[in-house]
């Protein structure tokens, strides 16, 4: 089998995507779990001229910085095309293609654990340095 990697965005015009990377998982309050769309996670701030950032999630504050990826990362989208040619037998074969939809060159990395903010409104989403949640996933290198 052969899967063609396409690039419908047109090479140089390939849009840049971004990554926010943080430790643990972002946990949503149970009452919001079914309606995540458009729900605010937090506020990303650049307090100074340096490439340092804070990310406030609920009453937690993360401190991190913008880093260039060592190697670029492409965002590929898997596309299934049903074979239009139905004259063939029952082999309704679908063809898979991969389409490049973006390229990632930078991420904002929060590699430390969150600092608790003393007071604040009750948040809809909280960041949690969740050791158990993290351990359930595969460890990276």
């Amino acid at each position: 089998m052969q899967i063609q990697v396409k690039c419908s965005c047109g090479a140089e015009k390939c849009p840049e995507w971004a990554i926010i990377e943080l430790q643990g998982v972002v946990e949503v309050q149970p009452s919001f779990r079914d309606s995540l769309q458009n729900l605010q996670i937090g506020l990303l701030c650049r307090p100074s001229f340096q490439e340092n950032y804070t990310f406030t999630v609920g009453y937690h504050e993360l401190t991190g910085s913008k880093v260039a990826l060592k190697k670029p990362m492409l965002v590929l989208k898997k596309i299934k095309r049903m074979n239009v040619d139905q004259s063939d037998e029952a082999t309704s074969s679908s063809k898979v293609e991969l389409d490049v939809v973006g390229v990632i060159r930078q991420k904002i990395l929060f590699k430390t654990r969150p600092k608790a903010l003393i007071s604040g409104p009750q948040p809809a989403v909280k960041e949690k340095a969740n050791a158990a949640g993290a351990a359930a996933q595969k460890q990276s290198v």
Partner: protein, 397 residues
């Protein structure tokens, strides 16, 4: 290109171009979900143009691990998981590009402010350059050799008969074999494959033998020099002898090479080594032979014009001493697997101890990206040197 600050208010752009002393709201995208169809692929900067200009494909059967092929190289694709949360933020107009989605109406899009997270990526794919997996090429092409029978019956073969045989077009091969186009082409050439009626075939050695002998026979009859054979003449004479035109060309191609200076006139020079190896294999096909009788028969078969030496057979035959006699038998590097572990295992099964000069022809074609031949030897052999001035000997590790 992203460095210049642009006053945009949404998506990845605003996040990456965030001005000092400002902030942006990060929220879940209107289309937030698991999006298993979105894959992250990490790759070297130098491979980027290949992908962006649509010069790469993924190849492999469902029971194989996929490889990514550029025009000239093969890479294995591995998933690397992460325990961190990787929040993926698309550009602002991403949702508008997905026309089929119900959720993608203008209303949701309007609601979007700041930067939106479309999915949490569990990890990414990584590429590691690997040797092409060409062993399969030989095994599938050997299922159905092109023989003299087929050449003679060719006209009678109806399409039903033809479809029953397992034959492979170039497209079939790229679908089946995990190698880049260049590597596949080199692999076909190394195995002396030829495209006949749109299918890539290996020609039965016995049939090749017939054509080659006829060519030599004709060269004597017509007083042709084997160093400057005129293509048109050779091909038309072989054709009149009953060989398909394509196979006549193939014979020149396999056992000779074009003479550079006379490219336009189509002049060929027969390659002594390839011709000599061919006849040696023919003699030894039935089994091992005593050195003297082998040499005698071999010399007799080779055209007088050609210089013969036993060294030509390195990587093709092995000799062994039994009592006072030396015996020769076929042991061809082209019949060995191309992965180092399997190759060394067979070599040490064949002989527990190897001297360097014997071993070298059987391992010099091993190709493992990032691993030198010294590193291969360290990994798979044990090197001993009985005396300081003695030849090193290699045994299994």
């Amino acid at each position: 290109m992203m460095e210049q600050p642009q006053p945009c208010c949404k998506g990845a752009q605003v996040m990456l171009n965030l001005q000092p002393t400002s902030s942006v709201s990060i929220q879940y995208h209107p289309l937030f979900g698991s999006h298993d169809d979105l894959i992250l692929l990490e790759l070297d900067e130098k491979l980027l143009p290949d992908v962006l200009y649509q010069r790469v494909t993924l190849r492999g059967q469902t029971d194989e691990d996929a490889v990514l092929c550029t025009k000239s190289k093969t890479y294995s694709v591995k998933f690397v998981g992460t325990s961190n949360s990787v929040l993926l933020v698309p550009p602002a107009d991403y949702s508008t590009s997905c026309k089929n989605s119900r959720d993608c109406d203008g209303e949701d899009y309007e609601q979007q402010i700041g930067a939106s997270v479309i999915k949490v990526a569990p990890g990414n794919m990584e590429l590691v350059e690997v040797a092409p997996r060409l062993d399969k090429l030989k095994s599938i092409l050997s299922e159905n050799l092109y023989s003299s029978d087929e050449a003679l019956e060719k006209a009678d073969l109806d399409s039903m008969e033809r479809s029953k045989r397992r034959l492979y077009t170039w497209d079939d091969l790229t679908n089946k074999v995990q190698a880049s186009d260049d590597e596949l082409r080199t692999g076909l050439q190394a195995r002396s494959a030829v495209e006949i009626d749109g299918y890539w075939r290996i020609v039965d050695e016995k049939y090749m033998d017939l054509i080659l002998r006829m060519l030599f026979h004709n060269s004597v009859l017509n007083d042709w020099s084997l160093d400057s054979l005129i293509e048109d003449k050779v091909v038309s004479v072989l054709e009149s002898d009953g060989f398909p035109r394509k196979l006549a060309y193939h014979c020149l191609y396999v056992y000779g090479g074009r003479v550079e200076e006379a490219m336009d006139r189509g002049v060929w020079k027969m390659d002594a080594r390839r011709v000599c190896v061919h006849f040696a294999r023919g003699i030894l096909r039935e089994g091992k032979r005593k050195m003297e009788s082998f040499m005698e028969e071999w010399m007799r078969m080779i055209p007088e014009e050609m210089q013969v030496s036993f060294d030509m057979l390195e990587g093709e035959v092995l000799t062994e001493k039994l009592g006072v006699e030396t015996w020769v038998r076929v042991f061809s590097v082209s019949s060995l697997p191309s992965t180092p572990a399997e190759r060394f295992s067979i070599l040490f099964k064949e002989r527990p101890k190897w001297e360097w000069k014997d071993l070298e022809p059987y391992i010099r074609d091993l190709n493992v990206p990032g691993l030198s031949s010294e590193a291969l030897l360290l990994k798979y052999t044990r090197r001993t040197q009985p005396k300081v001035d003695a030849e090193p000997v290699f045994t299994a590790r």
